[in-house]
């Protein structure tokens, strides 16, 4: 599988904009979390933005994605509304899930975002189902599953590869290898190279530097195209790093540490946003000033979204009565 083309100027700028949006939203969520403004916890995606952005760049509104507990980035990259997401995380009625799901469950079906998922591996089977639906629709839709290196050890991963390959489903499996399975360094819980696992199913597997947005963009381009053409599933392993904690609250309740600060600093030097910015400037696609302007615009968006979220009302406690079932009392 080879990428269909290189990103255009517009696409380059979109990539950067998406990544910056994710970053700024999450930095604000970080601050709001520590300020005690959020009712629940957040699992931040900071450091991994190139993956969501590089993959979702190839998707349309009617393509499906399923995401994880670390799902803000996927939501935003797939075109989800920052206001509705932030309001959700504040537990507000204006939230994308009316405040019922929170950070781990941000979903927008109208944009093909089947939802973040608090169950590790929970999105896998769901994506297979969406891929089956896409295949039956026969309109070239694809279904993309984002999951972590930890999730790759759940049996559903293998099951999905088998079903996907067998039925040639338009399924794209994106494994974000961010160094940790919760608090366990990945290699303490994972045997072999995850990127080898698809081979037994004749599923094309590509490993990329997940902090290199362009590399991700290219690998995803090929994988999505493969699926759209009816050639079946493909797999991309994106190696990256979560520079924040597993859960932003962990500093308050973990009894120990599980990594050296130097490791974090190392990875901060490989920051995907700085890296893409540098490339874009080097390639004369934009200037640093333009990036600054973009950033300010994004910061305004985030500011507005947060103001909106804070000003929104909490949901009515009675709302749940209508939500367990469609048109039926619980």
């Amino acid at each position: 599988m080879t990428p269909t083309s290189a990103p255009s100027t517009e696409e380059f700028l979109d990539l950067l904009r998406t990544m910056l949006l994710i970053r700024r939203v999450e930095e604000r969520l970080r601050d709001d979390f520590h300020a005690g403004k959020l009712p629940g916890g957040v699992h931040l995606y900071i450091g991994q933005e190139a993956v969501a952005a590089g993959v979702c760049a190839h998707l349309n509104d009617d393509d499906w994605i399923a995401s994880t507990h670390r799902g803000h980035g996927h939501f935003l990259a797939k075109g989800g509304d920052p206001k509705a997401m932030i309001a959700e995380i504040h537990g507000k009625e204006t939230g994308i899930c009316r405040g019922m799901g929170g950070s781990m469950h941000v979903a927008d079906f109208s944009r093909g975002i089947i939802g973040a998922n608090g169950i590790v591996g929970g999105g896998v089977g769901i994506t297979v189902g969406a891929a089956l639906a896409a295949q039956l629709e026969n309109k070239g839709q694809v279904a993309v599953c984002f999951f972590g290196d930890g999730a790759a050890n759940q049996g559903v991963f293998m099951e999905a590869m088998n079903v996907g390959a067998l039925w040639k489903l338009p399924l794209v499996l994106i494994c974000e290898h961010n160094g940790f399975s919760e608090f366990s360094p990945s290699d303490t819980v994972t045997a072999g190279d995850i990127a080898d696992r698809p081979e037994a199913f004749d599923i094309p597997s590509t490993s990329v530097d997940g902090n290199d947005a362009i590399a991700v963009w290219e690998a995803a381009s090929a994988a999505v195209d493969h699926a759209r053409r009816g050639n079946g599933p493909s797999f991309v392993l994106a190696t990256t790093y979560r520079t924040h904690g597993h859960n932003e609250g962990e500093v308050y309740w973990l009894s120990g540490t599980y990594r050296d600060n130097s490791e974090i600093e190392d990875w901060n030097r490989r920051d995907p946003i700085e890296r893409l910015t540098r490339t874009l400037v080097e390639r004369d696609i934009c200037t640093l000033d333009e990036v600054g302007a973009m950033d300010r615009e994004i910061l305004d968006t985030v500011e507005d979204a947060c103001a909106f979220a804070e000003a929104s009302a909490v949901p009515s406690p009675d709302a749940v009565q209508d939500l367990m079932f469609f048109n039926q009392a619980p």
Binding site: W64, C97, R98, E159, W167, F326
Partner: protein, 323 residues
């Protein structure tokens, strides 16, 4: 009206619904040849797009049901034996039962899960569970337990056309029971219990296939001068408590007959509801005739007495009336 075997009523209902709405799809292990006969002929008729034999991977199958339904299809998932529900329980309990609430009601989830349940045929512990108590407790799952061919057809059609996940449980080995099925498009709403027999002395509530032994018990009781009212739940979620309460208001006595294990059974729940909401109507203790808290053994002479039977049911009812 046509007399049909229960399994035939199911097969006909599936055929009609798939005929009626081309967005209805069905998948599961060996749905082509069909272990129980309920899905026979569907693959031939509707083709491999809409009817798929799957690999053995229940964890993914239940997740797929959620995903395909969320993406706009009406899904029928056949899980074969109820015990395999446990193998696919993650996506049932964590996704299917919760995703509508978690996403703020963005979607409907038209999923029907079919599985055979119950013991009595020496299939031993891993092929004879009665799983509805766990499903009932999840909150977001309807549970249908038809006991007649007419209800089998009517409830299945309602489930398939419905927009909420519904477990449709077939009583294992009892698919051969025959009964009349109304002609035409026969639908039975969820949440309407059936009064199978009227009587003023005691109310017998039966779950699923327990209807027959319960009716038999009622006949035996009648021979002793005790008139039992027999109510067949038809669905456990939603549960028609009104019909049960109205009956208890007349009889003052209740026996619930359920082939689930006793602890936290459907029978427990119905008994609890009545002990709260109909307390002042009750003239005697609420009895449960259930399976003891034991996994099904293989030896028939050990298995049989664990299941509710007309004798145990009649005895329970008689004690209440005579007390």
């Amino acid at each position: 009206m046509a007399k049909k075997r229960l399994i035939q009523a199911i097969n006909d209902a599936l055929t009609e619904e798939m005929e009626r709405d081309e967005r209805v799809i069905l998948f599961g292990e060996d749905v082509e040849i069909s272990m129980f006969g309920d899905t026979v002929g569907l693959l031939d008729r509707f083709g491999p797009d809409r009817v798929r034999n799957t690999p053995i991977c229940e964890a993914t199958l239940s997740g797929m049901a959620v995903g395909a339904a969320a993406a706009g299809y009406r899904v029928i998932l056949h899980m074969m034996f109820s015990n395999f529900i446990y193998t696919g329980f993650d996506a049932i309990a964590n996704q299917m039962a919760k995703i509508r609430l978690m996403t703020g009601g963005q979607i409907m989830l038209p999923v029907t899960v079919i599985a055979g349940y119950g013991g009595g045929r020496s299939t031993a512990a891993q092929h004879s569970d009665t799983p509805y108590p766990a499903l009932m407790n999840l909150g977001g799952i309807n549970v249908a337990v038809p006991s007649t061919p007419a209800d089998a057809a009517g409830l299945l059609k309602t489930a398939i056309r419905g927009n909420n996940p519904t477990f449709y449980l077939e009583a294992g080995g009892r698919g051969g029971q025959r009964g009349e099925v109304p002609d035409g498009d026969h639908l039975m709403p969820l949440g309407q219990a059936a009064i199978r027999r009227s009587g003023g002395d005691v109310t017998l509530v039966s779950v699923g296939a327990m209807m027959r032994p319960t009716l038999r018990a009622a006949r035996a009781l009648a021979a002793d001068g005790i008139e039992a009212e027999v109510i067949d739940c038809r669905t456990l979620v939603p549960l028609d408590t009104e019909t049960i309460k109205a009956s208890v208001a007349r009889t003052g006595r209740l026996v619930v007959v359920d082939e689930a294990r006793d602890r936290c059974s459907a029978a427990s729940h119905i008994a609890a509801v009545i002990a709260e909401e109909s307390f002042h109507d009750l003239r005697a203790p609420v009895r449960r005739v259930t399976v003891p808290n034991i996994a099904m053994p293989y030896a028939p002479n050990v298995e049989k007495p664990l299941l509710p039977n007309p004798e145990r049911i009649a005895e329970a009812a008689a004690t209440l009336v005579q007390a």
